[in-house]
Symmetry: C2
């Protein structure tokens, strides 16, 4: 059960953490996974925060079918080119060969816009602000638990608007007020926001916006995307509305999603050599209470534990009263599982009317403190807030230390080849320069920042005049 060190073999560390913390495991069909109770509880907490923000910003949830007639996919040229190679196809149903094969949704723009053609008649029907939580299937060549699986769970928002300005504003609002807010506030992970370059855009989009987070191995994880689709889908699926001007128009679209991939991001952004490290807002258990006693003291200690648990109402809590394991074993297990705060309760603690608290986010020797029983109800929530804030600060410091502004192409390519983090540098907007970096370092442009600083004078790759700064990194 010993974990490989992060610094020595990050991929092996990741696999082991996912397995031993009982988050997920591979299943039988190629590239599929089972999400186990502890991993699914994390996903439920993530969903709750994202869903709340989606509703607060005026969206409603719906459900569109998973099976889509194949001919529907063919209507938007870029979209079919992007997704056709990845789809799973149902050819038989009810013991019969189907007249037309059905694809399992890889994303739902096609079925949704074919339906919007019925729902959108007038400007009064706009904006249409819908979202669904669903499973999707994409036939991926190389899969990894949570990060890239044949089937994954996600939410996909699909909106329709009268004007391009309004649709663009929506796409940006989702990125900032829903995705950035959720990942920074709930996950305690700072993110970069920005546009994608043409090469990295969603198939069928005019602009793709993304949040990018830095993992502890120096690679970036695209953690959420929001697309401005212009009128491409409206035209492909014949969606027209009667405008305020009495004329007929095609609405403007957005789509946006985050997925179970976020669980992978949480693991890799905060985890350490001891295992997971979960932010209190998402942790299935915010507090674990470990009773410590010899046989004769059991009753007294467990009575104390019950009282402590009572005083912590509203806190998600686990009492680990397993008799078959010693406290040290339990400490290791809950550290591996990333529980933010451990409370140890022994006879001496009870004598002193205190508990010993241990924070998961601090090194062992700084992690301990003593809390008076009478102050638990106020101190524990305060400690949890402190942990949430300090985890964010740590992640931000890590990112700052791993963000580089090289002055030469040689320096840039060396940093990127080593996957040392984000690299920000001026770019001329020429896809050839982008491709050259990718060929030579495997790194891609993660974002063109939303509020760019003035770019340096010259493209770091070719030396021609730069248009803007780009942020590169190797990525998952």
């Amino acid at each position: 059960m010993a974990l490989p060190k992060q610094s020595e073999d990050f991929p092996a560390w990741y696999q082991q953490v996912v397995r031993t913390a009982e988050l997920a495991e591979n299943s039988l069909a190629r590239g599929t996974m089972v999400i186990r109770p502890y991993g699914y509880a994390l996903w439920e907490a993530i969903q709750a925060g994202v869903d709340r923000r989606i509703k607060q910003t005026g969206h409603s949830n719906v459900y569109f079918p998973m099976l889509i007639p194949q001919s529907l996919l063919d209507k938007e040229a870029d979209h079919v080119e992007g997704f056709a190679p990845e789809v799973a196809v149902v050819t038989h149903g009810g013991g019969q060969k189907l007249e037309e094969p059905l694809i399992v949704r890889p994303t739902s723009e096609t079925i949704i816009w074919a339906t919007y053609a019925k729902w959108i008649q007038s400007y009064r029907d706009l904006p249409l602000l819908l979202n669904q939580w669903a499973n999707v299937v994409r036939w991926e060549m190389r899969t990894r638990l949570f990060l890239r699986t044949t089937e994954f769970l996600w939410q996909e928002g699909h909106t329709a608007h009268e004007t391009s300005e309004e649709a663009l504003k929506e796409a940006r609002m989702i990125l900032m007020d829903v995705y950035k807010a959720a990942v920074e506030e709930d996950f305690a992970i700072p993110v970069l926001t920005g546009r994608k370059s043409a090469a990295e855009r969603f198939p069928g989009a005019i602009a793709t916006f993304a949040i990018e987070a830095l993992m502890r191995d120096g690679k970036a994880l695209q953690s959420g995307t929001s697309h401005y689709l212009g009128q491409n889908f409206a035209k492909a699926y014949g969606v027209e509305f009667l405008g305020r001007d009495g004329g007929t128009h095609n609405p403007y679209a957005t789509s946006w999603g985050v997925s179970t991939r976020l669980v992978g991001g949480l693991i890799m952004a905060h985890g350490d050599d001891r295992g997971l490290q979960l932010p209190p807002r998402l942790a299935p258990f915010q507090v674990v209470i470990v009773p410590i006693y010899r046989d004769a003291e059991r009753t007294r200690v467990m009575e104390g534990v019950d009282k402590i648990a009572e005083s912590l109402s509203g806190i998600r809590m686990k009492i680990d009263d397993r008799e078959e394991h010693r406290p040290g074993y339990k400490f290791n297990e809950w550290e591996l599982k990333g529980v933010p705060l451990r409370l140890e309760v022994g006879p001496r603690d009870l004598d002193g009317e205190v508990v010993t608290a241990s924070r998961r986010d601090l090194p062992a020797k700084e992690s301990k403190s003593t809390i008076a029983l009478s102050e638990l109800a106020t101190e524990v929530p305060k400690l949890l807030e402190g942990i949430q804030a300090s985890m964010f600060r740590s992640a931000q410091e890590f990112r700052d230390e791993h963000t580089f502004r090289p002055s030469s192409y040689g320096e840039l390519s060396e940093i990127l080849r080593d996957a040392r983090g984000f690299v920000e540098a001026p770019w001329c907007s020429n896809p050839d320069c982008e491709a050259k970096v990718k060929d030579e370092t495997k790194a891609t442009i993660r974002v063109l920042p939303m509020d760019p600083e003035e770019p340096g004078a010259n493209c770091i790759v070719c030396g021609n005049k730069a248009d803007e700064n780009a942020v590169w990194a190797q990525a998952y």
Copy 2:
């Protein structure tokens, strides 16, 4: 937009309500549906109540893959016989023909028990109490929105136990404490509980328990099932554990589910000629506020409405301030959509410091009352509770009036042919008698009641000695 009368054409009434209340509509792939925002909000409220009860009774949520290798289905003989004819099959993925076809789960016993073989080693791993919320696909011949669709949403619980007693207890507990409780308390629909006859059992089950609700056309709707699976799946998938006695044993299984079919039940159990009638605990909007004014009074009335809305915090509420529709139009629309309580606010109401309240569950002339503004915060929750309770009573009275205890086979078959409701009568347990009733009336045995009364002496069909009472009805 006029609804057909329930009494004249119930199926047409149902279709129209689903369509005009904007709950759902047919989609493109055969038998699939789109669940629209109002319908999905209902499903979310249903889910919340069921999920809470599932967790309170000690279960955790998980997620198993939707795609299952075909060979896995073949391992449990009854199960494959029941489901093989209904499955959708993925034969191609990523542009290639698959080596082994994958089935889209019609239910997940197969993949789950194949996985439990890894998770269950010792009696310490038991009981294993897991549940998932998922979509499933069954190729149905005749489909109807919510009631029977090719794809539907559900939860499926799958548990493993040391002993048959414990598994049977679990299957019954789920039926009573989760399903019956949710449907009676949240839906305000009384249900019958009991065992299914052998002919109506889940493929692979030893006993199937069900809740059955009566719809307003006199037909029954099976609204949830809980199965005791014995050791069938454990044996088929090689699941063994080391027992307390040091020996090797197969665990005992249960599985249980409720689905989006419940939305159909809600519509048909409470709806009337004016449309939907939603119980306050599930209604997406518990209260709709309709301002009533002439132009000059608008500002004053809307200020009053805002204050009223403020005093109703915690109530799910809609303010219908659309300018393009008159109050009468709005009244009809929200009655169609089943909102439990309407508050009308006009200048005269504000003069008198009152609002006019109108209950959806009472006939128009009894439905109105006046509430002082100062008492809204206490009166509205009280009224909503009253509506919840009165809807349950109405449904129970309806069921009592439509439950029959005939004394002859002729009487029984006449009632069943007319689909007048539930019929309780003694049965000899012979499947031939059951089949005869079905052939002659289309009715099936819905349940063999959980706490049976002493049966009458003789089977109502054949006249031989009766074993127990059975409840028959035509069913969806």
